[in-house]
Amino acid sequence: MRLYVPIFVLALLAFGFATFSVTFGAISGPKRWNRAKLESYECGIEPTPTPPGGGRIPVKYYLTAMLFIVFDIEIIFLYPWAVTFNKLGTFGLVEMVTFVVIVLVAYAYIWRRGGLEWD
């Protein structure tokens, strides 16, 4: 249990700092409300009313977001591997190379199917 104390303290500090900086600003800051301050900024023009659901976003953005998540998670798995790289030895190397190759297959598929071209 003693091993994890520093992590908890760090988590507590981070959480405390985050909540402090948000809440203290909200409490101590002056509230000078005016109509235009809360409206969205459109280069000085009255903002055009967006449709109720916030309007439909073209599917291309969603596609790009998905691709990003796939390769982002791949990087997340690389971090712990990089930390314990010398302990794992060749076993770790082979394991991680196969993992990267699998993701590369997905990358090749997307590239060929044209997922990376924009329109």
């Binding site: 101590s28 409206e39 000085g44």
Partner: protein, 186 residues
């Protein structure tokens, strides 16, 4: 501001004012509100020779959200007035306005239907800067004067008292600061 306004009778405010004023004056971010010829002088002031960055104004913020100072650089046309007011409203407090150039301060030589005769018809102005266009050194001088104003501005209750005093003093004066006999047309 919020908390110290609630403190009874402006307790321990003077030191807070000095600290707050000093901190605010050091990094005033201008909102790029370049309209006409004065905007070109504003760019030259931001350029390498006159270097606006020496005063912490390196980063000209394009959104009013992160701007503290609006330099109205150029002639404000009737069509531009609502846009100027919208940008001013969307700037977060504390905010200041420098009306750069004669056209912004009083309509200048364009005394006609198209130009708002002085930007103080739309937004409260802190510093009026003459010149057509004002030289970069004049703009830097007006920024230094603005820094003095920011450093010496009061907070909370002192600020309210200061405002009421200024108002009474101003109401007594005639518009031209002359002791004008009653009933004259001015």
């Amino acid at each position: 501001m919020g908390v110290e306004e609630k403190l009874p009778s402006g307790l321990l405010l003077t030191s807070v004012e000095k600290a707050a004023g000093w901190a605010r004056a050091r990094s005033v971010w201008p909102a790029t509100f370049g309209l006409a010829c004065c905007a070109i002088e504003l760019f030259q002031t931001g350029g390498p020779k006159h270097d606006l960055a020496r005063f912490g104004m390196e980063r000209a913020s394009n959104t009013p959200r992160q701007a503290d100072l609006m330099i109205v650089a150029g002639r404000v046309s009737q069509k531009m007035a609502p846009v100027l007011r919208q940008i001013y409203d969307q700037m977060s407090d504390p905010k200041w306005v420098i009306s750069m150039g004669v056209c912004a301060s009083s309509g200048g030589m364009f005394n006609n239907y198209a130009i708002v005769q002085g930007v103080d018809h739309i937004v409260p102005v802190d510093i009026y800067l003459p010149g057509c266009p004002p030289r970069p050194e004049m703009l830097l001088d007006s920024i230094l004067k603005l820094h003095d104003k920011i450093m010496n501005s009061k907070l909370g209750k002192n600020r309210d008292r200061e405002i009421t005093e200024l108002e009474e003093a101003r109401l007594g004066l005639s518009p031209l600061g002359l002791a004008v006999p009653e009933g004259s047309e001015l």
